[in-house]
């Protein structure tokens, strides 16, 4: 098949396909802009006090800003992946017809993947244009780094990376889909998912813990270079593996929840939901991945904030014990509000990510309802009330979601529990006495009223808010998605050939 033929078949489509193309391109645009911004931040060198945005000034803070921007791009990319399934029934018919005309199975998958790649490429090129136009519009105001540009190969790489990733997600989603000349069928695994993703979480936590080996029984192998970059790789890799473990673990959670619903549930809604969860346990992994990743990132940020607050309190108390005057001692000159504002920025990114993830979940939900419209219409025809079907959809979404959210929050907080979480104030005092520091006065009376050890608390309230927010976003998505149910259970659906 020639490239021109592939391109023509990849852009063939109806109105739903146009909508899918637009949404995919829009997602790719946002992801490209976020990644280009991250690359721009990383292109700044040295101490950059020419910028009014303080997060860009310190070299040590810029990787965090870039990571936050990449965090935003991940759910947007996931949204592009969700868009692939939009209009799936019509696309399935089209692919089957192309197979009937003589396309091989590989060509069928290639066409489906090319559809996503073409739309994403359009979006990423538009993203590059938007990025360049925005830079020119902002001008040289020293608010944002418009005076630095990532190297051209990096820009080209990022513009191509987004369509490549979207196409890879598309191909991944197609791996259990068989396009035959008679229609599209999905392979069903006979064996349910196993809890092996738990191992991924354990490895992720161990990786994250290894740079803090002084405090933990996990040690870095001798052959690994003990550099700053290696620390970043271990921390980032640990977080990514933990996220992957949680996301993939939803398959097992869904299957188990489905079995429990079927066994203990009462009424047709739980029966329908339970059976659906058992039949397609990986649906949750596909649709909730971005949301769970955002919740893990949010939990890490909240844990870090609690850690930071404890650290600053420790510094204050320690300075009191040591009798340092204001402006001297540990953390002298540090501005806690600056760090807390940075974390607030991360939480805004998490909120944005959760909103985008909920939009992706809505698309997936609508698509799944439309794909099963005849089955739903038949159930309605046989007397099943629509509210029972709505309840079934709610059950099948929330039953795996609630434990998955708890797991995500626990995993996110566990990552931060692996860094030192207690501060010994008594040791400082002992060291003060021993050091004979000329500036320190070792104020014993003040120290008597202070705790000996400060522990970083688990931010239960904030974590609960995070979980409730994620749950609310999903509830809104389900509420909107269920509106489609009315039209999809119209008995006319049974008459369509």
């Amino acid at each position: 098949m020639k490239t021109a033929t592939l391109a023509r078949l990849a852009v063939a489509g109806n109105r739903t396909d146009v909508l899918r193309t637009v949404l995919t391109a829009l997602s790719a645009l946002l992801a490209t802009v976020a990644m280009l911004c991250a690359a721009t931040v990383l292109s700044i060198t040295g101490w950059a006090d020419r910028y009014s945005v303080t997060l860009l000034v310190e070299p040590g803070l810029r990787p965090g800003v870039a990571a936050t921007l990449i965090l935003v791009s991940l759910p947007v990319l996931a949204l592009a992946g969700q868009c692939i399934r939009l209009g799936a029934p019509a696309r399935d018919r089209r692919l089957a017809a192309i197979r009937l005309a003589g396309a091989t199975p590989g060509e069928g998958v290639l066409i489906a993947t090319a559809e996503t790649a073409v739309a994403s490429l359009l979006g990423s090129v538009a993203g590059l244009v938007a990025y360049l136009v925005a830079r020119a519009a902002i001008g040289d105001q020293h608010t944002l780094p418009t005076d630095v540009l990532p190297p051209a190969p990096v820009i080209a790489f990022l513009v191509l990376l987004v369509p490549a990733l979207a196409a890879a997600i598309g191909a991944l989603l197609m791996r259990r889909v068989i396009v035959t000349p008679l229609g599209v069928v999905r392979r069903v695994r006979k064996r349910g998912p196993r809890p092996w993703p738990g191992l991924l979480i354990a490895v992720g936590l161990a990786m994250f813990a290894s740079p803090f080996q002084e405090h933990l029984p996990v040690h870095l192998p001798h052959w690994l270079p003990h550099s700053k970059n290696m620390t970043y790789v271990l921390l980032g890799g640990g977080v990514l593996l933990t996220m992957a473990g949680v996301v993939l673990g939803v398959g097992w959670i869904s299957h188990t929840a489905g079995q429990l619903l079927r066994r203990y549930g009462r009424g047709p809604a739980t029966l329908l939901a339970g059976q659906r969860l058992i039949t397609d346990p990986w649906n949750g992994s596909r649709t909730m991945a971005a949301l769970l990743a955002a919740v893990i990132a949010g939990s890490v940020a909240l844990g870090y904030r609690a850690n930071l607050a404890t650290t600053f309190r420790y510094y204050d108390l320690d300075n009191q014990i040591m009798g340092y005057p204001y402006g001297r001692g540990m953390s002298a000159g540090a501005e806690p509000s600056f760090y807390f504002n940075a974390i607030r920025l991360v939480m805004v990114a998490v909120g944005l990510s959760a909103a985008v993830a909920a939009a992706g979940l809505l698309i997936a939900l609508v698509e799944s309802i439309v794909a099963r419209r005849r089955a739903y219409a038949s159930l309605t025809a046989t007397g099943v009330p629509r509210r029972t079907l709505s309840a079934a959809i709610l059950w099948q979404t929330l039953t795996p979601l609630v434990p998955a959210l708890l797991l995500a929050m626990a995993a996110g907080d566990a990552l931060l529990r692996l860094v030192p979480t207690h501060y010994d104030l008594g040791r400082s005092y002992r060291e003060c006495l021993a050091d004979n520091d000329a500036l320190a006065h070792c104020h014993t009376p003040a120290a008597l009223h202070l705790p000996n050890v400060l522990n970083v608390p688990v931010p239960w309230a904030e974590l609960s808010l995070l979980g409730a927010g994620a749950l609310l976003a999903v509830l809104v998505a389900v509420g909107v998605g269920v509106l489609v149910l009315r039209s999809s259970t119209d008995l006319e659906e049974l008459r369509v050939g």
Binding site: T5, R8, A97, L100, A101, G102, A103, T104, P181
Partner: protein, 229 residues
């Protein structure tokens, strides 16, 4: 002389339900064979197995002395693209492509140039009397016209065997006769063998020979509709 396409001892089950239970079938060069029988007797399954769309559970499908059952899915797809043509009752045209693009599709998939494929496709639409619909999409033309376009697509690669599954089942009698007449005329002109699945006597009457099925086997009475030849 060995037949162009044959099936020996074909068995195919759908789960626990047998669809074909040891069928022998053969079609020679340029021969038109009608496969008849009541609904659910295995006619369409036989056609799908012979055309390589489905694999058989037992038995062999031989085309030009080669067992195509041993071939990969991709190889069987290429065989359908070059040597076979397939025509169904409906649902075979890509709704998003124009009539001429639909007809040109097998040629384009085989690697032909766009201009050459379009010219050949237009020629075939003209032979089937629907050249004026070349730029229309399937949704904008009638069922009979769609079936003519589908016929053009099935024949555009000048296949050695045409598989037609109830090709006039969704058409009114007059249009059905016209479409069928064109299929048979072109097949005769090109020397294409036709495996024609139908349950209608008037359709089977176009065939040289009839193979009647009943409950997944060739009807032992050999009576069938009794109209072919």
């Amino acid at each position: 002389m060995s037949p162009l396409l044959s099936g020996t001892g074909l068995v195919r089950n759908y789960g626990a339900t047998p669809a074909l239970r040891g069928i022998d079938f053969a079609v020679g060069e340029g021969e038109i064979v009608a496969v008849t029988g009541p609904s659910g007797c295995g006619k369409s399954t036989l056609l799908h197995c012979l055309s390589g769309i489905l694999r058989v559970d037992a038995g062999t499908v031989t085309y030009r002395d080669q067992d195509i059952g041993l071939w990969s899915e991709a190889a069987r797809s290429r065989l359908r693209r070059t040597e076979f043509g397939v025509l169904f009752q409906f649902g075979q045209l890509v709704p998003e492509l124009t009539a001429v693009e639909n007809v040109a599709l097998p040629l384009l998939l085989a690697g032909s140039g766009r201009r050459e494929a379009r010219r050949t496709a237009l020629d075939w639409l003209d032979r089937l009397g629907v050249a004026e619909l070349a730029e229309q999409r399937p949704g904008a033309i009638s069922g009979g016209q769609q079936q003519r376009c589908a016929t053009a697509r099935a024949l555009v690669t000048e296949p050695r065997v045409l598989f037609a599954d109830e090709p006039t089942g969704a058409l009114d009698v007059l249009t059905g006769e016209q479409v069928l007449g064109q299929i048979v005329r072109v097949a005769r002109e090109q020397g294409t063998a036709v495996v024609l699945v139908t349950h209608e006597a008037r359709v089977a009457a176009y065939a040289d020979r009839e193979v009647a099925l009943r409950d997944g086997v060739v009807d032992p009475t050999g009576l069938g509709l009794g109209v072919a030849g």
